[in-house]
Amino acid sequence: MIKILNMIIILSVACWVCLSPNMATAGDTVKTDVRIIHASQGPSYIDSKLEDLAAELGSVFKYTSYRLIKEKSMSLKNNQKGVVTLPGKRSLVVTPIRISGEKIKYQIGIFKSGDKIFGTQILLKNKRSITIGGPKFKDGFLLFNISGNVL
C-alpha cells in the first residue's frame, strides 16, 4: 500500500514538473506588444490604456501627460523582426533572439532615416515589460514600452 502511494506521489510530482510552463524548454513564438507614448509637461493627462505604466513612470519622470499615440501587437518567432514605424522618420525594430519559458532575449534598435540611433540587447522576463526613451517629439519625448509574453 505504502509503495503504491509512494509511486503515485512520485508520478504526480513528475507530471507537475513536466506540464509546468516554467520548466518548458525554448518556446517558439512570443507575443510582443509595443506601445508608443508621448510624454510631456503639458496639461495633466493619462491615457486609459497607460494607467498600469503611468504610475511607475511617474515615480521616475516629471512628466504630467502620457498619451498613447500608437500600439502594435506582433506574434514573433525566434529571429523574426518586428518593425514599428515611429513619428519623425523613425522606426523601432524588435527581434526575439532566444525564447524560453521564463525569459526572452530581444535585440532592439531605434533608427532615424535609416541610421541606428540606439540599440540594445535585453533579457526580458516573461509577461514583463521594459520602457525605452526618449527621442524628442513635439513638446515632449517619445517612450517605447515593449512587453513580451511567450505563447
Binding site: 504526480s12 521616475v60 540611433i117 540587447q121
Partner: protein
C-alpha cells in the same frame, strides 16, 4: 614644464608610495621628490586617489544595513541543513497519513497553479546585456515599486 621625470619612472613612484622599495632606494627617492615637482605631484596624486577610494568606500559601506546580516546568514544555513536529502529521507518513512496529505496538497497546488500564474514581479523586469548606437548618453533605471526597467538615451 616637463611632463616626465628623466630620473625615475612612474612605476618606481608607485612602488615608493606603497613602501615596497628597499630602505636605500626609499631614501634616494624621498630626497629626489623634495626637488622634483613632477615626481612630487605624481606621488601626491597617487596618494589622493587611494585616499578618495578608501573614503568613498567607507561611506558607501556605512550605508549598507547590516542589522540582520548575521540573522539572514543563520537562516540560510539552517535552510540548507534541513535540506533536500534529509526531507526526502524523512518523507519515505512509513507514515501513511503524511503521504495522503502530500498527495492532496500536490493536487490542490497543481489546480491553483494551472488556473492562473501570477506574474513574477520580484527582481527587475529586464536585464540589459548591451547597448550601442549614436546616443550621446545612456541611463538605465529601475522603478522602486515593481522594479520596472527603463533605459533612457539622449540622441546626439
Amino acid at each position: 614644464m616637463k611632463k616626465t621625470c628623466t630620473t625615475y619612472d612612474k612605476k618606481i613612484i608607485s612602488e615608493f608610495v606603497d613602501n615596497e622599495l628597499s630602505s636605500e632606494e626609499n631614501k634616494k627617492i624621498s630626497e629626489h621628490i623634495k626637488t622634483c615637482p613632477i615626481c612630487k605631484n605624481i606621488s601626491e596624486e597617487y596618494i589622493q586617489m587611494s585616499n578618495a577610494f578608501v573614503q568613498r568606500t567607507s561611506i558607501e559601506v556605512e550605508k549598507i544595513n547590516t542589522g540582520s546580516l548575521g540573522e539572514n546568514v543563520l537562516k540560510q544555513i539552517k535552510r540548507k541543513e534541513n535540506g533536500f536529502s534529509k526531507k526526502v529521507f524523512d518523507y519515505f518513512s512509513p507514515k501513511l497519513y503524511l503521504k495522503i496529505a502530500s498527495l492532496v496538497a500536490i493536487m490542490v497546488v497543481s489546480l491553483i497553479y494551472f488556473q492562473a500564474q501570477p506574474v513574477n514581479i520580484i527582481g527587475p523586469s529586464a536585464i540589459v546585456n548591451s547597448v550601442d548606437g549614436n546616443a550621446s548618453s545612456i541611463m538605465i533605471l529601475e522603478t522602486e515599486k515593481s522594479k520596472h526597467t527603463i533605459i533612457w538615451f539622449s540622441e546626439t
